[in-house]
Symmetry: C2
Subunit: 415 residues, 2 copies
């Protein structure tokens, strides 16, 4: 039996304990995890240093080193995040609907845990803790598999959380880490039908595509964000500049950053120089359509089809002048990853048409796409942002980690 399968069996055996754990116990467990993380500061930093050293030796880029690195402050923030999840309302047990049939059967639909959640992710070790505590709060067992760069940190963080489980009298097998970071172990995880109720990949497009293509267990596709902002003919142009500047430059490496700007032809002459001036302050590279280049000059490089489809994740933006709202909507629905899009307009009809016809998880009127985030939406925490339409769409909080069950009470009814 492979190592991954043996972990899966241990999870399956332990899972009923967390599935039926009272809210009070789960909250106490989370607070203990937070305390244990703070108390184990040195041990975590030491393991993290081992990961960083070997990553540096392997010549990993600085941006990845930063993702991998923990500090006292980052660990305290991690623990604060855990305490915040402890304070969230427990989704399990909520009665979503209930009614009585004419034959007297009383039906109620209740929120229940998903069961066992699998997470495959890359170099950020904080995902180990964030994902684990969200899953536990929703009464799920969890199988984690992080990237090889963070393996010592992940092993240490998992051991600390398992220790907290034991201290609360629970089976530590509720929370297991795949320590084998080979491609083989990931592939095995994707085929754990009968064990994993869902597999959530978090990371770059390569990882997510691999999981979507190879998994036979149910998957929630997350992450990729080719987000658009459309400046309507009736837009407040100053607001438009502020929103584009914020959505493009406040944190260009994240999935809710703006990657593409569409401008109505009637305001393009006026708007494009204004937004370029602002984007120039951050040296944003503009890739434009012919009309954009006519207005802004030949210093703007031409945008290709693949530029319109690209998630740049950096200081680059594609720009296209469109004839009308319909063309903007068609362009977005064709090139978008269906994550977040915004219209800037003062026209009510146009705003309604945009929100109705743009087929994305979050559609904004006169606001930055950067708000698509579980914390910003008030969920308290986030396990990822779903870009598929099944089960959950947009930022996923605790509810996305639950399923439902019908409970039917009778007194001898037969059909």
């Amino acid at each position: 039996m492979s190592n991954v399968m043996s972990l899966a069996r241990r999870l399956k055996a332990a899972q009923p304990q967390i599935a039926h754990a009272p809210t009070e116990l789960k909250n106490r467990l989370l607070l203990r995890i937070a305390d244990c993380l703070c108390a184990s500061m040195e041990e975590i930093l030491e393991a993290n240093q081992t990961d960083i050293s070997s990553a540096a030796q392997n010549g990993i880029p600085n941006v990845m080193l930063d993702r991998l690195s923990l500090s006292e402050e980052r660990i305290h923030n991690m623990a604060d995040g855990v305490r915040k999840v402890a304070r969230l309302a427990d989704p399990v047990g909520e009665v979503l609907s209930g009614y009585t049939l004419v034959n007297g059967l009383k039906i109620r639909k209740e929120r229940v845990p998903l069961g066992i959640v699998g997470m495959i992710y890359e170099s950020r070790p904080n995902v180990t803790v964030d994902a684990a505590v969200l899953c536990l709060k929703a009464s799920n067992a969890v199988l984690l598999r992080g990237g090889k760069e963070a393996i010592y940190t992940n092993i240490t963080l998992t051991r600390i959380m398992q220790h907290a489980l034991e201290e609360e009298g629970m089976n530590p097998d509720i929370l297991l880490l795949v320590e084998d970071t080979s491609r083989q172990s990931a592939t095995e995880m994707m085929k754990l039908n009968g064990y994993l109720d869902v597999l959530i990949p978090r990371g770059g497009q390569g990882l997510i595509r691999s999981v979507v293509e190879n998994a036979t267990v149910p998957v929630i596709e997350t992450g990729a964000g080719n987000c658009h902002i459309y400046i309507d003919a009736e837009a407040d142009l100053e607001m438009g500049v502020n929103i584009v500047y914020n959505a493009k430059t406040s944190r260009p490496s994240v999935c809710n950053a703006c990657e593409s700007l569409l401008v109505h032809k009637d305001v393009a002459e006026q708007f494009l120089p204004l937004v370029k001036e602002r984007l120039d302050t951050k040296n944003v590279i503009i890739l434009g359509c012919e009309e954009t280049r006519r207005i802004l000059g030949e210093s703007v490089a031409p945008a290709t089809e693949s530029d319109y489809a690209a998630e740049f994740l950096g200081y680059v933006i594609s720009v296209k002048v469109v004839n009308d709202l319909d063309e903007a909507i068609r362009h977005i629905n064709q090139y978008s990853t269906h994550h977040s899009e915004a219209i800037v307009t003062n026209n009510l009809t146009n705003s309604q048409k945009f929100t109705e016809q743009v087929d994305s998880a979050a559609v904004y009127v006169n606001a930055s796409t950067r708000f698509t985030d579980g914390d910003e939406f008030g969920f308290g925490a986030e396990i990822g942002i779903s870009t598929q339409k099944l089960h959950a769409r947009g930022p996923m909080g605790l509810e996305a980690l639950t399923s439902t069950k019908y409970v039917i009470l009778g007194n001898g009814q037969i059909r």
Copy 2:
């Protein structure tokens, strides 16, 4: 370009029309479909006769011939089913939640169509109409692929529905049938990422397993039902006999029929002869554990491990005497397909423990498992019964054919 891909592109181009169709138009369309079905009675029966003749020539079993066969009455029932769906409330546009953030952003979560729904099914041609109208009512475009036995019937039914679409001024490409019934066309459908938002298989376990294993688009697993009834020590035994008899024999070929009976040891001596006497009236074959055979005699064949896991879909039942409720729950969670299970008891604590700890889509107290059905649950119609935990669980009505979207209204907010 393959035929399936060309159908997918036509669907994708036509889909926005149905996505934004007003409820009134959709209802009118459905009523017209119902009328067209009744008006095309002869044409449908003729196509069906062609299918039946070639199926009979190919020596297809009678039970499958019956599933395949239409009659005037069945077509009228089909049309009545369509009219019933027309009368159901439109799920699209429902606001599920809404609130205002401290920064003034107004967020609302709305129900929207899934987009394009794929259905792969077997020999029942009524699925062609049932699935199509449910998808259309929830504003989805739909790609159908039925079994080869029903191909002429399915082509005719689809053409009639497309004609109704045209008569309502809509693009008939909203509803397309894969006429190529080769394995290749099914496999291509399973890989239509970027086109299909969900693929729902309906049929035998072989079909469902093939879709789960091969699809890269999101799938909702449906159907298999190894349903259990547990007779508690404190059960009303007469009620227990009635429920077991009903759940086993009222329609043994369906997924909500009872396949396995568990009996508490304290009432086994009394209950087993009673239930056997009743099941004998329908010649139900009992496969029993050792204790069952001690009580009922050696005429009862021994049950194997695989019998406990089997969905017999006929007049066969496995029977096991258990020591207590915990053993019953463990047995069910191990062998069940997580469809429907029932406890017969007058003990409140036991009933609560059973409904909490049995991990199935529908859990009954003192009622037959046969009620797990969209129509019985009051959904008006059903696209299938989900046995997975993601997106939908149990009978799936119109809501299961929808997703959600966040609409966020601001006045210039940036992050």
